[in-house]
Structures are given as C-alpha cells and as structure tokens.
Symmetry: C2
Subunit: 152 residues, 2 copies
C-alpha cells in the first residue's frame, strides 16, 4: 500500500472523521480507497482505483469503489473531473482537502494540484448580483500542462 507522509495522513484522518460524522462507517475498504486516491498525484477512475488496489493484494470490489467515491464526493473529500477535451464518459476523481481551494489540472496526465486559498475577491464572488443570482459556491479550475508533461 502507498505510504503517506505526515500531512497526507492528517488529511486522510480528517476525511475519515468526516465520513464517520456524516453517519458512515470508515470500513477497511473505504480507508483503502481514500488512501490510494490521496496517494495518487493524478486523478483516477473507479476502475483504475480498483485495479491498483487489487494489484497490491487489497481486493476491493469495483462497486464498493464507486460507492466510496460517491461518498467521498458527498462529504467534499473527492473532486469529480469530466474530460474537458475528449468528452470521454469516464469520470476521474481526485482527493480533496477540507479547505477551500482551486485546482490545477494537467490536460495530458490528469495530474491535479490543489491551489490553497481562494484568491477571488468579494466583488468577484458577488458577480451574480446584477441578475439577482445568489452565488452559493464556485469552482475555479486551471487547465494546462504540468512541468513534466510540458517538457515531454
């Protein structure tokens, strides 16, 4: 199983804690899925996650992975990505910290980096006022090439 560094371990613990607090058990399978997702620098599909876990000897059924990902997304611990370019049907998932952040997404390798903090001004978030639109949340994704894919 992939090793997590200290800060990742904290993120994992907090996600599992939120899971429990929302009324769901932190089962071994769910821990494995969350840990594998957290350890991956790139967004993964449900199938990929199941395959990786299986290759390590941690057999987790594909639909347990699906259900765990849905649960993680529900509690804000996973971000769902749909291919912006080729419109492929398969959803990719990235682990999310519990602080507000934005994402850098590499179009070549599905690599995801969290940009801490927000950077949007009050005025920017109030952009809907002119229409009487009540903005409740926002999502800012940056697409491009990561350092490694840019050189290759």
């Amino acid at each position: 199983m992939p090793q997590l560094d200290a800060s990742q371990q904290i993120l994992l613990d907090r996600a599992l804690e939120r899971m429990v607090r929302s009324g769901h058990a932190a089962t071994p399978q769910r821990r494995l899925v969350a840990q594998e997702l957290l350890a991956s620098p790139c967004a993964l599909t449900a199938r990929q996650l199941a395959d990786r876990l299986g290759a390590q000897g941690d057999r987790v059924g594909v639909m347990t992975v699906y259900r765990t990902l849905a649960l993680l997304a529900e509690i804000g611990a996973a971000y769902v990505l749909h291919d912006h370019l080729s419109e492929s049907a398969e959803a990719h998932y990235a682990f999310c910290s519990d602080r507000h952040h934005h994402h850098l997404i590499c179009s070549a390798c599905w690599g995801v980096w969290e940009v801490e903090g927000c950077g949007l001004s009050e005025a920017q978030v109030r952009v809907g006022d002119a229409w009487g639109f009540q903005v409740q949340s926002h999502s800012l994704d940056y697409y491009g090439l990561c350092a490694r894919c840019a050189t290759a």
Copy 2:
C-alpha cells in the same frame, strides 16, 4: 422555431461561421440544434433538444443532436455541464458566446448566465508558476440559485 433577438442572431451566425471555418457544413439540422440551444435560458440534454425540435415539427435525430453538440463544444460554442450535486449521468449543454466568459449556473433549474469578461488578474492566472505548471485556460463556474428559483 424560437425567435432570436438581434444579438442572439449575431452569436448564432458567428458560431455557424466557426463551424464552417473548421471544416464542417452548417447543415439545416445543425442550425436548428444551435438555434434551439441558443434560445434556451437553461442548459439542455441532447434528448431534450431532440424532443423540443420534434415538437416544433423539426425532426432531428437524437444522434445528430449528439454529434452537433460535440461539434459545438469542440469549436467552443457549447459548454458541457455535469450535475455537480446528484452526479446524474446525463450531460447538459449551454450555448456559449465566442468571447471569454464565466458562468452562473442555477442548481435548481439548470439556468445558465454568461458573465462577460474575466475578472481574474494576471497574478490569478499565473497561479501555477510555483509548480512550473503552464496554465492554458481556466473555467470559473458560480453555482447558486437564480432569482426565480430563490423565491420559489
């Protein structure tokens, strides 16, 4: 067929022009799909578009709608929305102008408003520099309730 006002007509013409310039014919069906999408204040699914056209007597096959939507998305004339809340499988599409803009998206009715201009600073777009990440584009979506859904 839905009537377009003058500014919408310009947007439609420009989208069809881009279509032709990218090597695709502006067929009657494609015109109808683009026009119907442009006239709708809310994002629509492929099925909804086909149904609406059919109800008006403009029978357009569902897969022609699918292919037209893919084409519109490819040339930047349509924006693909995936349900952020319930993770429903069906994709919704909204017409896009050819100027850079962001979106207000009503979580209740799939209403979409274009926010003209960008509002992001140079520094905000350079957010990837610290990682050596080359940002090529970004997408900023505001979710919330439109004026009508907020009162209902």
